[in-house]
Amino acid sequence: MEEKEIKDELASIRSLMERSSKFISLSGLSGILAGIYALIGAVAAYYLITTNTSRVYPYHGYYSFDHLFNSLVGQLLIIAIVVFVASVGTGIILTNRKAKIKEQAIWGSTSKALLFNMATPLIAGGLLMFIFLVHGYYGIVGPSSLVFYGLALVGAGNFTFTMVKYLGLCEIAIGLIAACLPGYGLLFWAIGFGLLHIIYGSMMYFKYDR
């Protein structure tokens, strides 16, 4: 066997090991865009909060859904949902495109494992936050959304680029800091979902996308 032949063989083994166990088609560009959407959402939320005349009184009781969705909290919730849907949509489209280039199935065993590991903390956290929201604990939503999202990323990191795991740890740290400093929820939310995504997305983009 020639040296080059052996080297090719080893390289193909390494690539197979990676392709079969890790979903390497995640798009870095979609991370950057998700960060930008989050920053736009945060600016809109800040605008809503500062111009809103009817203050949201911290009321630890039960709100009717009607009241909840007509209030400031409801409008903020809508912004959050729009940002989430836009980010996920962009992510799916760009990842699909990259999966075609990388010749990796977008709905294969690796992406299934990735989604399952991400969805578990996200759905559990989402439901918990919704329950707290209905009870009027608004302050808890910002920090805990960061923490649960971080946990989802740490779990997902086993099935894709290791960098995703570090992003998750950063999100958890920011969420915990936000929990210590009530009143700055939106700022930390903008850092966690906006700034961190843009930094991480650019790193991924320059390292893997091109």
């Binding site: 066997m1 040296e3 052996i6 080297k7 063989e9 080893l10 193909s12 083994i13 197979l16 090991m17 392709r19 079969s20 166990s21 199935a105 294969g108 065993s109």
Partner: protein, 101 residues
């Protein structure tokens, strides 16, 4: 220059077998259809090489049903994992010797 060709595993002489083994090294279990897709090969070719690895006791076959469809998954045995590592070590040594020789 002494080349340790005898250390290279005959069972891995075929490229596809080595590829199957690499996939099973990093995944607990892998099913037939995913393997076929990943390695871009035909049913018959893949099946015959899987048989070969099974005969060497390098892999274990699990047959289950997903609803009414048969689902066959494969798992590397300890023997298979050891053999794979030794084979890679031998390949590495070959490169090193060719460099120094």
């Amino acid at each position: 220059m002494k080349v340790p060709f005898e250390k290279l595993d005959k069972a891995f002489e075929n490229r596809l077998r080595l590829q199957i083994m690499s996939v099973l090294m990093v995944n607990d279990r892998y099913d037939f259809n995913s393997l076929k897709e990943l390695l871009d090969t035909t049913d018959g070719n893949l099946a015959s090489h899987l048989k070969g690895l099974e005969k060497e006791e390098y892999i274990m076959v699990h047959k289950t049903f997903l609803g009414r469809k048969p689902n066959t998954t494969y798992e590397a045995t300890d023997k298979g994992k050891t053999a794979f590592k030794q084979h890679l070590d031998a390949l590495e040594k070959l490169i090193k010797q060719q460099k120094s020789g």
